[in-house]
């Protein structure tokens, strides 16, 4: 594993985020994943330090090893080499049962207790008349309720990092301290918020988010300026490690068209898409 610890130099921000997501995962974890950065992170983890990691997708698929980029939680890639294909309610029931070690969730707003909003930005209106209607919970509420730990991904912006979100779609620690447990939620709650500039973790007692590491080149002040509440900061703020060369190599094989890591959808034609699929098959087969 020594060579895996050689850090890459030439990487972009999405690639760093994928590596950061991968580092949240341990070997043997069962991970309830959504598409994009979390799924890439899970695949990178599986192909590096966590070979026994199992991915679960809410469409009803467990343990796939896809030989192509996954374009949705109901993409055909999710059944490739799966150990079990079943139904949506069963996978969520399994999560409620406590089988899933990690869930990855996102949102448009997050607050200091890790509560997430992916339902509606009220603006000057309210839930019924929102400034911006978002997609809704999807499975996020369920993941946040029942996964043994959750990892949040969201861009760092002042309008997103609020004292209190407009609407709690996915519960974090609610009002902090033991309020989450008192509400009867079985899962453990969030352990990290991965942003484009830094990573937050949670105080074990107050359950408030604090700054744990900044990405290379980002200052603590820059983070503070993008958070609406009086941010707590770790005694020694770390620097988020960049991807290793090995991680980067794998990211670029899996997402060879840069769909998640380099805005690759923009230039995709039908021909280049078919070529992408055909090209992936051989290269990814060798990875697993």
């Amino acid at each position: 594993m020594a060579e895996n610890q050689n850090f890459a130099r030439d990487y972009n921000l999405p690639e760093l985020l994928v590596a950061a997501a991968a580092r949240e995962l341990r070997d043997g974890d069962v991970v309830f994943v959504g598409v994009g950065v979390p799924l890439l992170g899970a695949l990178v983890a599986k192909l590096t330090h966590a070979p026994n990691l199992i991915m679960a997708m809410e469409s009803g698929s467990v343990g796939p090893m896809p030989y192509r980029i996954v374009l949705g939680i109901g993409d055909n890639a999710c059944v490739e080499n799966a150990i079990c294909t079943t139904s949506l309610w069963r996978l969520f029931a399994d999560q409620q049962r406590g089988y899933f070690d990690v869930g990855m969730v996102g949102g448009a707003q997050v607050d200091k207790y890790g509560n997430l909003n992916s339902t509606a930005i009220f603006g000057s209106g309210d839930y019924y008349h929102p400034a911006s209607r978002l997609p809704g919970s999807g499975g996020a509420n369920d993941i946040a309720s029942s996964a043994r730990r959750t990892v949040i991904t969201i861009p760092l912006e002042k309008r997103r990092f609020l004292e209190r979100v407009d609407y709690i779609t996915s519960p974090g620690y609610l009002n902090g301290y033991d309020s989450r447990k008192k509400a009867g939620l079985p899962g453990g709650g969030p352990v990290a918020i991965i942003t484009n500039k830094c990573i937050f973790r949670f105080d074990p007692e107050t359950r408030e988010a604090y700054l744990d590491s900044v990405h290379p080149g980002v200052s603590v002040e820059e983070v503070r300026a993008n958070v609406s509440w009086d941010l707590k900061v770790a005694p020694e703020v770390k620097v988020t490690p960049p991807p290793t060369e090995e991680q980067l190599r794998i990211i670029r094989i899996i997402d060879r068209a840069g769909i998640y890591t380099n805005n690759g959808l923009k230039n995709l034609t039908f021909e280049s898409y078919i070529q992408l699929l055909e090209g992936s098959l051989e290269e990814l087969q060798q990875l697993f």
């Binding site: 030989y67 055909n76 949506l88 509606a120 919970s137 999807g138 039908f270």
Partner: protein, 309 residues
């Protein structure tokens, strides 16, 4: 719940057009199968083409069907967990309806994916509700009075309750079915097996109709036995541009083009004029997409997932 003789027919084959004309009535509550892949796209176009009105849609994440039906003004209400095209983009029609009342305002009742799944399971089991640990502590119950909480009479712990969903019609796409409606699925099934049981009338669409003998060779794959089904329509490529495991790959370049059009109301209307009203059936849509393109989506998929039974 009443059953009519359609459940007892030994040949339930219809075209999609006939099935929707027969079973979907203005004002009905409807539900579709699929989650990301396996989506009922053909079905949404056909409902729009037939000018159905005032429907209520119940679904976990009925992204394409939800957004199309909202944009076409077909829906008065949605009981859902999510509406978006995921990787391909946001659901512009859904947003326009909620934010600006375009083409007209709709009611939205928010759930999560699991709890919509539980609502179908409750309907399938013929019980009025099911309990869950989801939703607790969140704001969903605050804005949705039909999410209730109770203390478990055995342990005192708090649970949330969600009400059974009993749609008038479920339209569910599967891998294959015989003409009696014994519907089989390869791969994940989302909520299909509960959807068919929760609904009062069930239209099964499938990639291919097979013999009952073929069904009997693989009884573990049957997610909907014939006694749950009212009509069977063979609709190949029913999910385009979405994917169908073991049959054809996701046509995401098509989706991107489509969603670029949907960004404006005018773009959506032009799209529907061309792709929905400009053809007279799903066959017309597919011909317009191009059979060569569809064949390539099928061929590339077979390199990855291949039915081996």
């Amino acid at each position: 719940m009443e059953f009519v003789n359609t459940r007892k027919k030994t040949d339930k084959r219809m075209t999609l057009k006939e099935a929707i004309a027969t079973f979907v009535k203005d004002g009905d509550t409807i539900a579709f199968g699929g989650m990301g892949g396996i989506q009922c796209v053909a079905h949404a176009y056909e409902i729009i083409r037939q000018g159905k009105r005032n429907l209520t849609l119940i679904g976990d994440s009925p992204c394409e069907a939800g957004d199309l039906l909202v944009g076409a003004g077909v829906l008065k209400r949605m009981e859902i967990a999510w509406c978006s095209y995921a990787v391909a983009g946001l659901a512009h029609n859904f947003r326009r309806a909620v934010e600006q009342g375009i083409p007209h305002p709709i009611e939205v009742e928010d759930y999560s994916n699991f709890t919509i799944g539980l609502r179908f399971l409750a309907g399938a089991m013929n019980v009025p509700f099911l309990p869950t640990k989801s939703l607790l502590g969140s704001d969903l119950p605050k804005y949705n009075a039909r999410i209730k909480t109770m203390d478990d009479p055995y342990t005192g712990e708090t649970v949330a309750l969600v009400p059974a969903a009993r749609p008038d019609v479920a339209i569910v796409h599967v891998s294959r079915s015989d003409k009696r409606g014994n519907a089989q699925m390869f791969g994940f099934s989302s909520n299909a097996e509960n959807l068919v049981r929760a609904a009062k009338k069930v239209i099964i669409t499938c990639e291919e109709i097979v013999s009952t003998d073929e069904v009997r060779r693989h009884p573990n794959l049957t997610i909907a036995p014939e006694y749950t089904v009212d009509a069977v329509a063979e609709v190949p490529f029913a999910c385009h541009p979405w994917n169908m495991p073991y049959y054809y790959a996701y046509d995401i370049p098509f989706h991107i083009q489509q969603l670029t059009a949907f960004r404006t109301r005018e773009g959506f209307e032009r799209w529907m004029d061309e792709w929905c009203f400009g053809v007279d059936s799903w066959e017309g849509y597919l011909a317009k997409v191009g059979w060569d393109r569809l064949e390539r989506l099928r061929r590339v998929e077979r390199r990855f997932t291949h039915i081996s039974c």
